[in-house]
C-alpha cells in the first residue's frame, strides 16, 4: 500500500550516512547530559556496558545530513582526576579513545564549578563546544548568564539549553562551529617549570599536568615515570602540593570568568534549601523517608500485578495451544512446559522491572534518592557501607533482581560488590508463599512472628555479609561525601526511555541464562532416564545431605532444585510431588483468543483499579493453602525440620535471574562464588535452626 500520509518519506534515514562521528558528552553529575541526548536524538536511547567494565553506557544515534553521529553519555565527573571507576572511565575514554567532538555540558546554576572542569577539558586539545544547560534553574536562583560573553572569553561556541523542556535548538549549529581550544589557566611558576622539564618525556601538556597531580594509570613510559617521580619530589620539597596548586589556579581562573559572564539579579534562599528543611527535618525526615520507600514498593508491585497476570494468562493459552498440537507428547510437553514456561518466566520480570526502574529513575533524577541516603546513612555506617547502599538493600525485599542492578548507583566497586552480595539474602516477595505455607502448618499460633523473624534474619545475614566482606577485602569504610543535587521534576519522556532501555538490557543480558535453566529443569523432570524421572533420582541422591537438617523426605529436598530457578515454584512443586500431577488441558484457537482478549481487558481495568488502590491501606493477602498439602507436609517433616527448611529457602540462591544479574554486575566468577557462599550459609544456619527446637 502506497500511502504517503502513513509512510512519509524519511529523507534523513533513507539516505545512508557516509561518515561516522563519535561525540562525547562530558560534564558534572546531574548537569542534564542524558536529558540533552534524549532531547537531541529522540527515541534511540540505549543502555549497554563499556567494554571491559560493568559500568553502564548510554548512547544514541543521530543522523546529521551525511554524517551518522553517535552521542555517548560519559558518566558525570567533577574533574579529570578520577576518584571513582566512572570518572576513571571518562579519563580513559578521552585520552585513549579520543572522540571527534567534546560536548561539554555545564550547569548554569553552578557555573563556577562547571567551569573548572571546562578549563581542564580545554587542555586536552580536542575539538570542543559548550552547552550551558539548566538555564531555567539559574534563572530561578536569580542568576543571569551572558552566553556571548562566555563565548568570547573562552573562544569556544556556546549554546544555552533547557534540555528537560526540549529547548536544545542551538546545540547542533554550535557543535558545527566546534574548534580546538587554547588553554586559559595560568599555573604557578613552579608547576609550569615542572611541566616544561617533563616535556621531553611527556610532550602532552594535559597529560603532564594530570601525572603531576597524581593521576595513576596513565599511558607513560618507564623513563617518563622516573622523571615524573623526581619532579613531584622536587615540588614537594619546595613545600608545594601539585594537586592543590593546579586546583587553586583553575578555581581562580573559573572565578574570574564567572565574574565576567554572570551576575545575580536577586538573592533568596533556593527552593532546594527550603525543601530540605522539611524533607531532612530531624523529626519529620524519617517518617517521610519511610513513606517514600513504601510508595515506591506500592507503585511497583500494585501496578505490575495485572501485567504479570496477563503474561501468565498468555503463557497458559499458548501452552494450551501447544498441547492441542498433533505432535508426540514429549515434544508437546517441551513446547508447553519448557519453552513457553521459560520465555514466560523471563518476560514476567519485564513489567515489574520496568515499573521499578521508572520509580527508581524518578527518585534518582528528582534528587530524592540522595536525600534517602542522607537519612539512612547512620545504619549503613555500621555495616561500613555508603548511605546510598540502603536503597538497593530495601528494594531487595521486593525483588532481588532490580535490587542487584540498582547497586550500579554506588560509586566504589567494592561497595557495589558488597552490597550486591548482601542483596540475595533479602527476603523477596517470591519467598513469602513458602514462608506462609510452612508457618501456618507448623506454627499456627506464632506464624506472623516466624515470618517476621525470617525477614530480619535475611537482613542481618546480608548486612553481616557486607561487614565481613569489607574486613576480608580490607575495603575502606564507605565514605559519605556526596553531592545532594537540587530537587527537579524529571521529564517523563526521559524517565520512560531510561526505564525501557534498562528493562531491555535485563531481557538481553539475563534472559538467556534463565531460559536455559528452565529448560534444564524441564529436561530433569521429563526426559526418560534409567527407567525413572531424573528429577526423583537427583532428589533422592541429594536427600542424605539434608538428613542433618532434619529433612528426610526426598520430595521436600527435590522442591529446592526448581527453587533455584525461582522461589515461586517451590510451593507448586511440593504440590505436584505430594499430590500428583494435573496435566495441561488442550485449548482451541477461538477459545484461546477469547481468553486472551478477556485477560487484556481485565489487565487494563486492573491497572486503573490499582492506580486507585495505590492510595488505599495495604492488605496482606495470606491465602491459606489447600489442606491436603498441609496434611501431607505435616506427615513428612518435624517442626524443627520445617523451620530449618524455611531458613534454607530464605538463604540459598534466590533465583537464576538474580544470579544472572549478579553475573552482569560483579562478574561470573564472583557470582559463582556467591552461590557457594549462599549454599554454605543456608546449610549452616539451617543446621543450627534444626537444633533450636526440641
Amino acid at each position: 500500500m502506497e500511502c504517503p500520509r502513513c509512510n512519509p518519506p524519511d529523507s534523513v534515514t533513507l539516505k545512508t550516512p557516509s561518515t561516522h562521528e563519535r561525540w562525547a558528552l562530558v560534564g558534572g553529575p546531574n548537569t542534564g547530559k542524558s536529558s540533552l541526548i534524549n532531547a537531541l536524538a529522540g527515541s534511540q536511547l540505549s543502555v549497554g556496558n563499556w567494554a571491559g567494565t560493568t559500568l553502564e553506557r548510554l548512547s544514541a544515534q543521530l543522523d546529521l545530513e551525511a554524517t551518522r553521529v553517535e552521542l555517548v553519555d560519559l558518566p558525570g565527573t567533577y574533574s579529570l582526576l578520577a576518584t571513582s571507576p566512572e570518572e576513571a572511565l571518562v579519563v580513559r575514554e578521552l585520552l585513549q579513545n579520543p572522540p571527534d567532538l567534546v560536548l561539554n555540558v555545564l550547569d548554569a546554576g553552578n557555573l563556577e564549578r562547571s567551569l573548572v572542569l571546562t578549563l581542564e577539558l580545554m587542555e586536552l586539545g580536542l575539538p570542543m563546544a559548550l552547552v550551558v544547560n539548566l538555564l531555567d534553574e539559574a534563572e530561578a536562583k536569580g542568576l543571569r548568564i551572558n552566553l556571548e560573553a562566555l563565548e568570547e572569553v573562552l573562544g569556544l561556541p556556546v549554546a544555552g539549553t533547557v534540555a528537560s523542556r526540549g529547548q536544545v535548538a542551538g546545540v547542533l549549529p554550535k557543535a558545527k562551529e566546534a574548534r580546538i581550544p587554547s588553554p586559559k589557566v595560568r599555573y604557578p611558576e613552579a608547576l609550569e617549570e615542572a611541566i616544561h622539564r617533563l616535556g621531553p618525556w611527556i610532550p602532552n601538556r594535559a597529560l603532564a599536568l594530570l601525572a603531576l597531580m597524581g593521576e595513576e594509570g596513565l599511558p607513560l613510559s618507564r623513563e617518563a615515570l622516573q622523571a615524573l617521580k623526581e619532579e613531584r619530589k622536587h615540588l614537594e620539597n619546595a613545600g608545594h602540593d601539585p594537586y592543590l596548586l593546579a586546583l587553586e589556579a583553575r578555581y581562580a581562573t573559573a572565578r574570574e570568568i564567572y565574574r565576567r559572564v554572570a551576575h545575580r539579579v536577586e538573592t533568596k534562599a533556593p527552593l532546594t534549601e527550603r525543601l530540605d528543611r522539611l524533607v531532612l527535618h530531624p523529626l519529620l525526615g524519617l517518617p517521610l523517608f519511610l513513606l517514600a520507600l513504601f510508595a515506591t514498593f506500592r507503585f511497583t508491585f500494585t501496578l505490575s500485578t495485572p501485567w504479570v497476570n496477563l503474561i501468565g494468562k498468555v503463557q497458559e493459552v499458548l501452552a494450551g495451544w501447544a498441547v492441542a498440537l498433533p505432535l508426540p507428547s514429549l515434544f508437546r510437553s517441551f513446547l508447553a512446559e519448557g519453552l513457553v514456561a521459560g520465555v514466560g518466566t523471563v518476560l514476567a520480570f519485564a513489567p515489574l522491572l520496568f515499573l521499578l526502574y521508572l520509580a527508581l529513575a524518578f527518585l534518582e533524577l528528582s534528587g530524592f534518592l540522595a536525600r534517602m541516603a542522607f537519612v539512612a546513612d547512620r545504619a549503613m555506617q555500621w555495616a561500613g557501607l555508603p548511605g546510598k547502599a540502603f536503597i538497593p538493600l530495601v528494594l531487595g525485599f521486593g525483588c532481588n533482581v532490580p535490587a542487584v542492578y540498582a547497586t550500579r548507583t554506588l560509586t566504589h566497586p567494592l561497595d557495589r560488590l558488597r552490597t550486591a552480595l548482601a542483596i540475595p539474602f533479602m527476603a523477596c516477595g517470591a519467598r513469602l508463599p513458602v514462608f506462609t505455607l510452612f508457618a501456618f502448618v507448623f506454627f499456627p499460633q506464632q506464624a506472623p512472628l516466624v515470618v517476621l523473624g525470617l525477614y530480619l534474619l535475611g537482613l542481618l545475614t546480608g548486612l553481616f555479609t557486607a561487614l565481613l566482606l569489607g574486613k576480608v577485602l580490607r575495603a575502606e569504610r564507605g565514605e559519605g561525601a556526596m553531592e545532594l543535587p537540587p530537587y527537579r521534576f524529571p521529564p517523563w519522556r526521559l524517565l520512560l526511555r531510561l526505564a525501557w532501555a534498562r528493562t531491555q538490557s535485563f531481557l538481553q543480558g539475563a534472559g538467556g541464562p534463565i531460559l536455559m535453566a528452565v529448560l534444564v529443569v524441564w529436561a530433569l523432570l521429563h526426559l526418560p532416564f534409567l527407567g525413572g524421572s531424573p528429577y526423583a533420582f537427583l532428589a533422592k541422591a541429594l536427600t542424605p545431605l539434608f538428613h542433618p537438617l532434619g529433612l528426610e523426605d526426598w520430595r521436600l529436598v527435590g522442591a529446592l532444585i526448581p527453587g533455584f530457578i525461582a522461589k515461586e515454584v517451590v510451593v507448586g512443586t511440593l504440590g505436584v510431588s505430594f499430590l500428583g500431577t494435573e496435566g495441561l488441558s488442550p485449548l482451541g484457537l477461538v477459545a484461546g483468543v477469547r481468553e486472551l482478549l478477556g485477560a487484556l481487558l481485565s489487565t487494563l481495568t486492573g491497572t486503573f483499579q490499582s492506580l486507585g488502590a495505590l492510595f488505599l491501606p495495604l492488605n496482606l493477602d495470606l491465602a491459606p493453602e489447600p489442606t491436603p498439602l498441609q496434611a501431607a507436609l505435616k506427615e513428612a517433616v518435624s517442626p524443627s525440620g520445617a523451620l530449618a527448611y524455611l531458613v534454607f529457602v530464605l538463604l540459598y540462591t534466590p533465583c537464576v535471574a538474580t544470579l544472572a544479574a549478579l553475573r552482569q554486575v560483579v562478574g561470573g566468577k564472583v557470582a559463582l562464588a556467591a552461590v557457594v557462599y549462599q549454599l554454605s550459609v543456608a546449610y549452616g544456619l539451617a543446621f543450627l535452626t534444626s537444633r533450636l527446637l526440641p
Partner: protein, 87 residues
Amino acid sequence: MLSLAQLSPGHRARILKVPPGQKRLLALGLRPGAVVEILLQAPLGDPLEVRAGETYLLLRRAEAKDILVETLLSNEPHGMPPVQPTR
C-alpha cells in the same frame, strides 16, 4: 583551629586544611579557602548537610572531623565573591 565536625547547623566557616589524599572532598568543592555553611544534620545526628558555594553536600562526621576550619561571622562574605554585573 576547629574541625568542621565541631560546628552546628547555621555555622559558617572557611576551610583551612583538608587531609592529604582526599581528592574527592577537594573535587566536591571542600578545598582550602572555600567558605562552607552547615545547613542541617540528619535525624540521627550524622551525616551533615553542608553548602560550599552552589554545591550541597552530604558529609559524614567522621570525614568532617579531619577538615580544619576557622569560623566566620554570618555577615562576612560568602563562599563566592560578590559578582559584578556585566555590561
